[in-house]
Assembly symmetry: C2
Homo-oligomer: 180 residues x 2
């Protein structure tokens, strides 16, 4: 059974600072037509940076969508024309001041495939060295560390609230244990 849909047309209904919203029309597999709102996002990278003592680096940041401060792994949107590996290297140094000798791609996750094109490319960073922090002008961050083992236990207790951090912590833990 073919469950694909055929794109018919689209209208850009909002053009924001980094997202666009498209109202798209599709032909469904049963022949009917339906509209789908799609948020077009430039995608992003996130990084589980693990030091030699198996601590990971975290950033606290105010998130307007929830009106509270969340504890997350470092991450940021991809610039136009930027490759994921360039983005993750840049974001890690901007947000934490760290440089890494080794990056490993863990996964690329669609955050909400029902309506949004954003993919977050999640990397493991190892062989860390101190560089210089340089956050974006409208970003205010507090950096902290936590044992990876503690972070893994904290995925169930509300310490972390977002998809990339919970996925990243569990993926890094699995990766470092099953492929040592």
């Amino acid at each position: 059974m073919d469950i694909s849909e055929k794109f018919i047309s689209k209208e850009t209904v909002y053009n924001g600072s980094f997202i666009e919203v498209e109202k798209r029309k599709y032909e469904l597999c049963d022949g009917r037509e339906a509209y789908r709102d799609i948020v077009v996002h430039p995608s992003a990278c996130a990084v589980v940076a693990v030091d030699n003592n198996m601590n990971i680096y975290l950033v606290k940041q105010y998130r307007a969508a929830f009106d509270r401060i969340l504890l997350e792994i470092p991450a940021g949107k991809m610039d136009a024309g930027e490759e994921p590996i360039e983005c993750v290297r840049r974001e890690l140094e901007e947000e934490t001041g760290l440089r890494a000798g080794k990056f490993t791609h863990l996964s690329s996750i669609a955050v909400s495939p029902g309506f949004c094109t954003e993919i977050i490319h999640i990397y493991l960073a190892q062989n860390l060295e101190q560089g210089n922090t340089n956050p974006d002008e409208d970003e205010h961050l507090l950096v902290s560390k936590m044992r990876l083992e503690a972070a893994r236990k904290n995925v169930f207790n509300g310490t972390f609230s977002d998809a990339k951090t919970i996925s990243g912590v569990l993926l890094a833990y699995e990766y470092l244990n099953i492929k040592p």
Copy 2:
């Protein structure tokens, strides 16, 4: 250091079938002002349904945002006034025909806290019984099963592409192993 931001004002710039887009103005912690585009979403539930043989249930669905068919755990948006536990019970039966004797909340993940209010409440479902499928009119799904152990290995190889599925599989695996 207080890194919170103060809400000043907002304008609804798009009102879609289930998302709204708000352009909000904030006072940053350094006193400057900035605009933030926020996608307001009704939030959703997702479910890792595990049978007595440690298989999990998956659904294939066409995703317009990526123009391809993705393999995901069953999930769906919350109806107005609906509690997460009601939503997850409804979505599991609509999409797979299954009823579960036991639901356990694993985590609630913000899919992309930088711009979107969507939270996905992820549950484990056990003690499964067959009911009746009843998908939404514009949803066309194919249901399949996979061993949880195989799913855990597949988080690294691209079999799954979305945040709730990768988080859900790893959370369920951790939960069933560390709290048996």
